[in-house]
Symmetry: C2
Subunit: 357 residues, 2 copies
């Protein structure tokens, strides 16, 4: 690979370790592909994993972008992730598609099952794809957007490494258990939210730990159940759910629907699989697709216009729609073709390729 | 009707107006039936409406119990609720059942569609029942429990009178937009939550207004967007969503899935139908039923045992499962057969029957 033109960005925090470089997203993508292939991940998995990281990087979701690559290589090197797992498709019913990822990454199962899920939703109005026995590291909004791009409504949930205590408790019981939802909009970008049912995503605490920054006391408790501003102590303790007992109830729902309902692990069971290394959790994912055409027929356009009225009324009173920052970042990236990552991450990714390639 | 034995309960707040009486639930139910029939509601609607109030009263959910009866009679008397509406069934697909309540109460549509919904879920694993053009006043947990009693998982949502501002906004845009979920448990009572996506239910503020009690400042803003402790001012202003922008996003999702997706009204549109009286909103309801037997087959019991382990771990660390207070109240009511309501409500219900009966 040719040496890259490196630009040092304005450094907000001082130390050289925080220096960033800009590079074409396509270059970073190619580096990622080489790193994963060099470490033995199959071409099919490599393609879907790097695509997910590239989408996140494009939208400046740094914690789900190429920041994930070193951990992915670690997981691939040490196992038990299966590098060339071929998803098994169980076409269970007119509305239910069950994917078994066979202990590979979730993304290839999603891509393999997506056309079948879409076809089912178009016929029956509602269809579910489940993915079990999968490793999962990505955000959920790319999958939601894969549905909204096809005119469908999407609702997606999954677990995470167990690191969240139920409201009133003190043990890492739940994953961050995100819920994502997407509504296709007639013009332009969809209405999409994707949030952890914890106060914050675990990756946000990891980023603070990497940056050596304190966290707010309300985010987490340490292993003794005491609020802590130390991100490292928080990672050893437990995060709290958002919104008190309501968020805790939602997180429980996600555990149930993406664990036992799929015959898959709970967050607290998943952690045992990689012997406590906590790299990337092994668990299930639930994807619901609704086709408004089946619900509404020829009246779809008229009722989706009323939904636009709701979005307009939210904006008109000074509130924001979710994902707007992400969409703005996307526009910036698409305009320049370039993304920015920390220099240490860039060097790390280069080393992942050259060491074993 | 014979005069009832009346018992005055310990009065926490002093004034005689707060005195309560105990009476057999069956007696109260009969009074309710007579009041609704006397005001011209059809026997089929009367049965389902009073059953919903009786279930709530049994579980000491006072705001959804017979507290709702005077408002129901008001709605029946002044319209536009259709007193003898016959639900229209549209069996849209193997997984989608669309009920049109024809501007009657939602409950008769739910009861009419329930056997079809259950049959669909048992065949395909996932089925949705929608109810549109309905008036809705009841809690969602009775419908969730109707599914868990049949071994199914339930997820139900509906809107409400528009009284909640989006996070960062100041206008009554959303209903309280509750979400309810139920998971059947092998032994005993199900795991059920049912909560408003507002900080609090509007009925809680109504109860405070009736009792002349202040509300916490974080519950609501007045019509100028300022936090208020006056429940009457709050009812004229807007409630806030729980959990900041996450709760606001969930509330938006409920608006979309129970409004435009069903060809039905948004909360802010619904309020215009009864000319701003705000009695009972007209809008849609979405009921999702999942059959774990289709997902898991013979392995269901083993995986549901692991779900029990999750519940046990939550309780073991001192956290509570939702609905426990309600289940405890249920046990008390079932043991004595009696419920307690304010004397003024009792007198009001009597007057509803005798005035027009």
């Amino acid at each position: 690979m040719n040496p890259l033109p490196e630009k040092k960005h304005a450094d907000r925090n001082g130390p050289d370790a925080d220096a960033r470089i800009s590079l074409p997203l396509e270059t970073l993508r190619q580096m990622g592909v080489e790193a994963l292939l060099a470490n033995g991940l199959s071409p099919e998995h490599t393609e879907t994993v790097i695509e997910a990281m590239a989408l996140a990087q494009r939208d400046e979701c740094h914690s789900h972008g190429f920041h994930q690559l070193p951990g992915a290589v670690q997981l691939i090197r040490r196992g038990p992730l299966v590098r060339d797992a071929v998803p098994v498709v169980n076409d269970r019913s007119p509305s239910l598609l069950q994917m078994d990822a066979r202990f590979g990454y979730s993304l290839l199962s999603f891509q393999t099952g997506l056309p079948v899920l879409v076809e089912k939703a178009r016929k029956t109005g509602v269809a579910i794809m489940t993915i079990k026995n999968c490793y999962h590291f990505s955000a959920l909004w790319p999958e939601v957007e894969a549905l909204t791009e096809r005119g469908l409504i999407g609702l997606v949930m999954t677990q995470g490494v167990n690191c969240v205590a139920p409201e009133g408790g003190n043990k890492p019981t739940f994953g961050t258990n995100p819920i994502a939802f997407g509504w296709p909009r007639p013009q332009g970008i969809p209405y999409v939210f994707d949030f952890a049912t914890s106060v914050i995503a675990r990756s946000d605490i990891q980023m603070h730990a990497l940056a050596g920054q304190d966290i707010p006391l309300e985010w987490a408790v340490d292993s003794d159940g005491q609020p802590t501003s130390d991100p490292t102590a928080a990672l050893k303790g437990a995060l709290r759910t958002f919104g008190g007992h309501k968020g805790s109830a939602l997180s429980t729902m996600v555990e149930l629907l993406t664990g036992p309902l799929l015959g898959d692990l709970l967050s607290a069971e998943s952690i045992k699989v990689d012997e406590g290394a906590g790299l990337t959790p092994l668990h299930g994912e639930l994807i619901v697709a609704l086709d408004p055409d089946v619900f509404l027929g020829a009246e779809r356009a008229q009722h989706f216009d009323r939904a636009e009225g709701l979005f307009e009324s939210i904006i008109a009173q000074g509130a924001r729609l979710p994902s707007q920052r992400r969409y703005e970042a996307r526009q910036r990236t698409l305009a320049t073709g370039e993304v920015s990552i920390p220099r240490h991450l860039y060097e790390r990714i280069r080393s992942l390729t050259t060491t074993t390639g």
